[in-house]
Symmetry: C2
Subunit: 302 residues, 2 copies
């Protein structure tokens, strides 16, 4: 089945202990759609300014991502500048310029409205709800969010959460959203808001899946050459949703595999700045890394 993502496209300037990159393409919808494109057909809704690199748009089309939902606006593209210390789990924002993103009001092209799988990346929860109103009964709706909305638009966010099937957030967001420091309690409270399924991203430590009372823990792959964690969470979501959409398998076992494919894509993403490492992966590389995760987590019961 096809997969629709609505989110941001950005130009990021990032500094990590391992290097820096000025004005590279980023944004949640960019990372998500590139990662997901290795699994299924992706439809992308976002806004870019007149300055957005044409070669990125060409690359997305090469990846068979349908970019007809990208609004090209006069003005500058959303810009983010940030850095990471040795604790790569936490980004420090130095500057944010919303630019054309400030007045973004996502509109689904008519031929996007029947998409089976929908991912609402981290945007204003009112816009997320609005997008849902434009979609015709998708089979699965998932969303991300961030502390900015948890603190600033809590009621609107709770309304959106009550309308989605699945939430993909990181552990700090899960704690802020639930008011619970303990992650198992946090998960229970978030699922009480409405979503049946919760995925908690834990950066280098992996991810937890809370689904129908069961819990799954996907490990983080210890990688020696971590370069830049920007977009890791979005790449995770892209691999996760991409696998779900490709297989249509929403069973517990299918969800678990999807979490691992999310981890696989995130593990590639952190090996480079921007989406460089994800530009030209082969299915052999993806499968080999999936096997590496399988070996990483495997132990025989006695």
């Amino acid at each position: 089945m096809s997969l629709l993502v609505v989110g941001s496209m950005a130009i990021d300037s990032v500094k990590t202990p391992f290097g820096e990159r000025e004005e590279a393409v980023g944004g949640s919808a960019t990372y998500f759609s590139v990662a997901a494109s290795y699994f299924t057909d992706v439809r992308l809704v976002a806004v870019v300014g007149a300055d957005f690199p044409a070669d990125t748009l060409a690359f997305l089309e090469e990846r068979k991502i349908d970019i007809s939902g990208i609004e090209r606006s006069a003005g500058e593209t959303f810009r983010w500048r940030g850095e990471y210390g040795f604790d790569l789990n936490t980004a420090h924002t130095l500057d944010t310029q919303l630019n054309v993103f400030e007045s973004f009001s996502p509109r689904l092209p008519d031929d996007f409205k029947d998409t089976g799988f929908v991912f609402l990346a981290n945007i204003d929860p009112e816009l997320q709800a609005d997008v849902l109103g434009q979609a015709n009964a998708p089979r699965l709706v998932a969303c991300d969010t961030m502390n900015f909305w948890i603190e600033g638009k809590r009621e609107e966010l709770l309304k959106t959460l009550s309308m989605v099937d699945l939430v993909v957030i990181n552990d700090a967001e899960a704690r802020a959203l639930s008011g619970e420091a303990n992650i198992a309690r946090a998960a229970r409270r978030i699922r009480e808001i409405g979503p049946r399924t919760l995925v908690v991203k834990q950066g280098e430590y992996g991810a937890l899946l809370f689904h129908e009372g069961g819990v799954f823990s996907a490990p983080g792959l210890p990688i020696e050459d971590v370069c830049d964690p920007t977009g890791a969470g979005d790449s995770f979501a892209g691999g996760f949703m991409g696998h779900l959409a490709a297989t249509g398998d929403l069973s517990e076992a299918g969800m678990r595999r999807a979490v691992v494919f999310g981890s696989v894509m995130a593990s590639f993403n952190v090996e480079s700045f921007s989406y460089d490492r994800m530009r030209a992966l082969t299915s052999e590389e993806i499968d080999a890394r999936y096997r590496a995760f399988s070996e990483l987590a495997h132990f025989e019961r006695l």
Copy 2:
């Protein structure tokens, strides 16, 4: 095979967001030996003051732990006072009184010298090396350490590490010891010092095993009722070494299972203050939790 532990016995006063406990029994060797006693015969070498609770010594004997190596000294037992915020991964020390521990010079009773499995808990690395000199060719020697020794007695610690087969430390210690922020690189450097095998404890996130070039990630069990993490690392080491000593299986598969049994014992330990939860576990409880870890980490390859 029998398992020897040399470490501290203490009286701890601990405050967590979930309660507090004044003057409860703690110490690395206490937690370790109680956890390990569910798997194998344990021989305990430590020092206590005249004020150490007799009922704890009686309890250890009930658990068939050989306490003939506990030196009873005039003076007061080692005391630690600390607290934890909602981030239970980090202890904040408020006060340390070494007391009788300050002049501790561990002596192995003659009938302890042939113990097959030896665990040198977190004490002065010179004392760890001295204990090794008293032991007759144990099959496996493992040790723990802490930042205090990494910073204060680095050369002595490196010497001890070059003499052991296996190191069990937490991620902050691995980073401090290696000078590498990246945990995969840190592991490689530590194994270059000498130990063939490294276990990195990651608190609520689980543990990593680096062994012969392979990596294993054991998940952390998301527990709703976490009470006090004090002693979790020592309980982990006790379950891990206890299982290794009981089975004698030092294969990769055996090591992996041992890491999970370590995680099992740590997960019980955090459910209470002191070693309350580990006082009277049944083998059914331990097996059930081992299965819970197995289900937590399990996914089918495609």
